[in-house]
Symmetry: C2
Subunit: 345 residues, 2 copies
Amino acid sequence: MKNEKVTSLDVAKLAGVSQSAVSRYFTPGTSVSKKTSEKVKKAADALGYRPNIIARSLITGQSRIIGLVVAYLENYFYPEVVERLSKTLQDKGYHVLVFISSLAAENVDQITQEILDYQVDGIVLASANMSSDLAARCHASGVPIVLFNRLQDDQRLSAVTSDNRAGGRKLAEYLVSLGHKRFGYIAGFGGASTQRDREQGFREGLELAGHSLTLREVGNFRYEDAQEAARRMFGDAGHRPDAVFVCNDHMAFAVMDVLRFELGLRVPEDVSVVGFDDVPPARWPAYNLTTIRQNVDDMVVETVDTLLTQIGDKAAPSRRVVLDGELIVRGSTRSPNPAPKRGTR
Amino acid sequence: MKNEKVTSLDVAKLAGVSQSAVSRYFTPGTSVSKKTSEKVKKAADALGYRPNIIARSLITGQSRIIGLVVAYLENYFYPEVVERLSKTLQDKGYHVLVFISSLAAENVDQITQEILDYQVDGIVLASANMSSDLAARCHASGVPIVLFNRLQDDQRLSAVTSDNRAGGRKLAEYLVSLGHKRFGYIAGFGGASTQRDREQGFREGLELAGHSLTLREVGNFRYEDAQEAARRMFGDAGHRPDAVFVCNDHMAFAVMDVLRFELGLRVPEDVSVVGFDDVPPARWPAYNLTTIRQNVDDMVVETVDTLLTQIGDKAAPSRRVVLDGELIVRGSTRSPNPAPKRGTR
DNA sequence: TTCAATTTTGCATACGTATGAAAGGCACGA
DNA sequence: TCGTGCCTTTCATACGTATGCAAAATTGAA
């Protein structure tokens, strides 16, 4: 209940040195003699003193806070991101201030204002889009921004993504190689670059193999919407796809659930299902989903690298990092071995 | 790239007023005339000025930052918490600074030090335990703390939890009512109060009905550990439970997966499985898990209430809020209707 | 021992804002 | 016209720390 803040001045008095000495003791990379060092340490311990980061920030202009904007943690890709990102930054002496944004874009602009108010040293935008003028404004105020799992036309913004287009193509090629003929696609929210790129890659892959998309529905990255999309796509028994690419794993689970438990279809015998992300439930036996892995660890490392580089050198050029995504083959797709047809066994 | 910070003094000059006037304009609840109000607004807009929260904090002693300590977002109960908590606080003008802690306890103490360095206005401890002396220290420094989904012996700490013991009892009663005879329990991490209380309630419920726990294994709140636990518990076909309570949903999914896909057992026909939390996948058809609902919204509201009350009045007494958890009956438990045995259909 | 070179220390100031106290402005009634 | 009371504004200072600069102390070599 004692609300007595202990300051560097208190420590200085007790230790019989100047406030500067105390400050220097707690600032790495400054010279302070062994003698005073011990005096300060002793006094600081006795009083339970710790430097006030807020006051320090005011001087140095460094808050050691990174703002993270995230829209929905419902997709289990993002909790992993928050955890890894926060941990990695923590190890480097930074911390993450979370801003939850709605899907509406204006909201993001308002939130970014709030972020800037906190004098953050950098911003990570995940699962949220930002208006170009606001991006420009952040840039103008000298705060580095990294788009995570997002791309924007503005080339001045750094971004870390997987190669979503290549991923979509890989999935198309793989499904074609399994002998599938009728392809469905369940899309995410229209404004997202991940949605756009994955679909584009998937279509390209199909067309290169002489196929094309048969059916397309929109699931908006939400479980419930994806269920609806699956019902529409597979409702007409006569015109069903025999393979469906769902824009992310989260929605793929919804689709599989509808196929199996509402429509009585077997996965993969009747329909092959593939997703994107490789979130933890994708490898749980109940889903066992074939998907493209987004390596969260690598993405986070690149994000932090980019961010800290730009914090250290404001003149550093922006980077666009595109990571390869590995195809993870599991049990939600038909077996690749066509041998049984010939009866060789 | 222009790194020119615009301060209240700049605005004051442009508007032809004093710096105080600018400060008052941006401080709600202060009196400022309509005339200067407009001058300031105009100048501020022209320069793109926004008050520096860091500098403000130094004066007011209020950072409007709440520290959140969380250990693992792997359990999908916590992402919901982070999202709801952050959003609710955002609406009240606060923001959440995230601290990821390992499971080790010393780590939490170090992290709490870091939190205090940021001069947070309050702390929420979720999925992490804190040493008593550190709790005392936080208390001493006047920073309110709320334990979320955790209890501690120290009565001075506020806490918001579900009634875990009552929940465990409800589950026991329900399983008994279904006619089960052999009961298994898969425990969480030993140090957690949720683990302890849920198990205690479950045992009480069984004993009140003249039953007792047959088998017990430890899953440590982790998917993989829970799989192992399930293998041990159900490995011996002659001594299997016919109902199992898994300490949280996250582990329950692992157990169901092992039962169905490794051991070929049917849920609920061969074994009834119940969990705790009611995370989103619990209602997905693939699991369709009977469980106790922890109402995240209510828990968050109570947490924020408690926190803001104590921030507003440091002398406010600590609160312990215990919320009721509803039994959600789904398809992972045997049908309550014993009629088929008599062949009435 | 002396002096120059080097390290350590203290002093003073700055960071950007909030706020109590004092001064200024205004309207109103006498 | 003058004085009284109230609302605005300005002035000055404080919050807790970092840091350039100059003074002091230490070191090392001659």
